[in-house]
């Protein structure tokens, strides 16, 4: 599916500036995912159902205790729907990047011939996918949540802008994790086992299974600083305007959210460099 898109992009873009290549790859990624309409609708349905179940559990909990570590029922339910809305774009529970399969089959050899670095190519493609998922999975899921439950919907437009920036950074963190899991394949061949072990940690550490706020305060503060929290917990707290954010403000949260993808992508670039110099690619 993606090959046809990629190769025609490649042939038309020879000699083009990298920026134009990235834009073309981004657009192809967006278009590729827009073809799976039934699956998108099914995804929205599933996210909404899981959101409703989680929300009802938390509502029962907050009915017994109206306030826990600064969260009330509405805050918690809002975070549940932020998590369900972001589930598809950040892909914290998969699917893995197609890069994993291409490394296993050796098709990554083609990717390495492209006029832009491997990581940039996949980042552009995945951002295209995430943009589609945001528009057609996140927005409808959150809207359904807002219809079913009362959510925190700030009136200040600046807060929404900051929240969108935070969501975008969350998506880059999600990509960085998946890219690292894929690149491990240069050494391990099959990365499904990496997902099997690292996968379950994602939703827990991100604050998707339960808001991290419900953990003891000291534990929650440490977990907020880890990169997983930047995928759900920090964006949710930015939307809610909580002072439990690192640095005590929205900007502290955004700074942390920007620092993690920078660090993880640097690690990814370093690993890619080592892999392409040292590893013999699977022959076909």
């Amino acid at each position: 599916m993606v090959e046809t898109g990629c190769f025609c992009t490649f042939s038309t873009c020879q000699g083009a500036t990298p920026v134009r290549v990235y834009c073309a790859v981004y657009a192809r990624g967006l278009r590729r995912y827009s073809t799976y309409r039934a699956a998108t609708a099914a995804g929205v349905f599933t996210n909404s159902v899981f959101g409703a179940i989680n929300a009802m559990v938390l509502l029962a909990l907050f009915a017994a205790r109206p306030e826990i570590n600064g969260y009330d029922a509405t805050d918690a339910v809002t975070q549940v729907y932020v998590a369900q809305a972001l589930l598809a774009p950040i892909a914290v529970m998969g699917p893995a990047l197609d890069l994993s399969d291409r490394i296993r089959t050796g098709a990554v050899g083609n990717d390495l011939l492209r006029p832009v670095p491997l990581m940039g190519w996949w980042l552009a493609q995945d951002m295209g996918r995430a943009t589609f998922d945001f528009a057609f999975r996140s927005v409808p899921t959150f809207a359904i949540g807002a219809l079913l439950f009362s959510l925190v919907l700030p009136g200040d437009p600046l807060r929404w802008v900051l929240t969108l920036v935070s969501f975008a950074l969350a998506v880059v963190v999600g990509f960085a994790f998946r890219y690292l899991y894929s690149v491990v394949g240069f050494w391990l061949m099959d990365t499904r086992a990496v997902w099997a072990v690292m996968g379950p940690a994602g939703p827990v550490l991100a604050g998707m299974l339960l808001p991290l706020t419900l953990f003891p305060a000291g534990v929650a503060d440490v977990l907020r600083l880890l990169p997983w929290a930047s995928m759900v917990q920090i964006p949710a707290e930015i939307l809610l305007g909580k002072d439990t954010l690192p640095g005590g403000s929205v900007f502290g949260g955004l700074l942390l959210q920007a620092a993690w993808p920078a660090a993880l992508l640097a690690l990814g670039a370093w690993a890619t460099g080592r892999a392409t110099r040292k590893v013999v690619i699977q022959g076909g």
């Binding site: 039934a38 099914a42 029962a60």
Partner: protein
């Protein structure tokens, strides 16, 4: 597809037929075990991968269990259930869904098999297609879900204040089996949806995995409307809620009759029959994609 079946015997995939349904069921069961064992031996060739997958599943089970403990830890009691009683509800649900996933989990891949055409291959083999589908890529890694659930159940049964009459001792295995049967039937029913909507896998997950998420907590917390619909429409209440009420000898806080808690086995049989009928209906309406 049709031309691979001989015209005088359109039921070829399910042949040879015997007049004795018990013997047919016995043969299906034997084939199931044989095929499952074949897949087990295949995955055992990669012991490292198998142990990592099993470990990963056990980790996510522990995380879910941890979430239940954290929620009950904050709330004290939910719907009158203490943390140990809540753990009992969780364990009953996780064990039933874990068993269903272990035995029938591969059924939700039906859409993939239809899309790639491998379902056609299953239809021409002399083994019931449901058995082939359920055993496809059968993996002992799913024990990673079952073992923690079983451990939680044993712990909760010891920690809860249960009046162990002879009736309860005898009923416990019956309730566990019927809970697993209800979940397996739900799994097959959700899988059958893909005969009609090939991309429905994720929507089916909202019934299968969603059902598990729903029944992990005492369902009275969801309010009367939902309790009634998961009692009388999709009978998930018989997976963990009614068995827990029976074991703990509690009146139903939502006011439904107490006799319901004894209906688990009956519900399981009816739902299994419904799943079998829907499966046959779907199979008869199946048209190959031709790929």
């Amino acid at each position: 597809m049709a031309d691979t079946l001989s015209p005088e015997n359109p039921e070829a995939p399910e042949a040879p037929r015997t007049s004795n349904p018990l013997r047919a069921a016995g043969r299906a069961l034997r084939t199931y075990v044989l095929l499952a064992w074949t897949w087990c031996r295949a995955v055992a060739q990669y012991p490292m991968a198998l142990s990592l997958f099993t470990f990963g599943l056990a980790l996510s089970s522990l995380a879910e269990m941890g979430a239940v403990v954290v929620v009950f830890g904050h709330a004290g009691t939910l719907a009158g259930f203490t943390v140990y009683e809540g753990l009992l509800v969780y364990a009953l649900a996780a064990l039933a869904f874990g068993t269903a996933d272990f035995l029938m989990g591969s059924v939700d891949r039906l859409g993939d098999h239809i899309r790639t055409g491998s379902f056609d291959t299953m239809l021409v083999r002399p083994v019931p297609p449901l058995v082939q589908l359920a055993t496809h890529q059968f993996s002992p890694r799913r024990l990673g879900k079952l073992v923690p659930a079983l451990a939680a159940l044993v712990f909760a049964l010891v920690a809860c204040d249960i009046d162990w009459t002879l009736g309860r001792v005898l009923m416990l295995p019956v309730l566990l089996v019927s809970g697993a049967a209800v979940c397996s039937s739900v799994w097959v029913l959700a899988g059958c949806l893909q005969f009609f909507v090939a991309d429905a896998r994720e929507a089916a997950n909202s019934v299968t995995y969603g059902g598990q998420a729903l029944t992990e907590y005492p369902i009275a917390i969801y309010g009367r409307g939902l309790v009634r619909s998961v009692t009388f429409v999709v009978p998930l209440a018989f997976v963990s809620w009614q068995p827990a009420l029976y074991l703990l000898d509690r009146p139903d806080p939502t006011g439904l009759p107490e006799a319901l808690r004894f209906l688990g086995p009956l519900v399981a049989v009816v739902l299994a029959l419904a799943a079998a009928l829907v499966w046959r209906f779907g199979l008869r309406h199946y048209r190959s994609t031709g790929s």
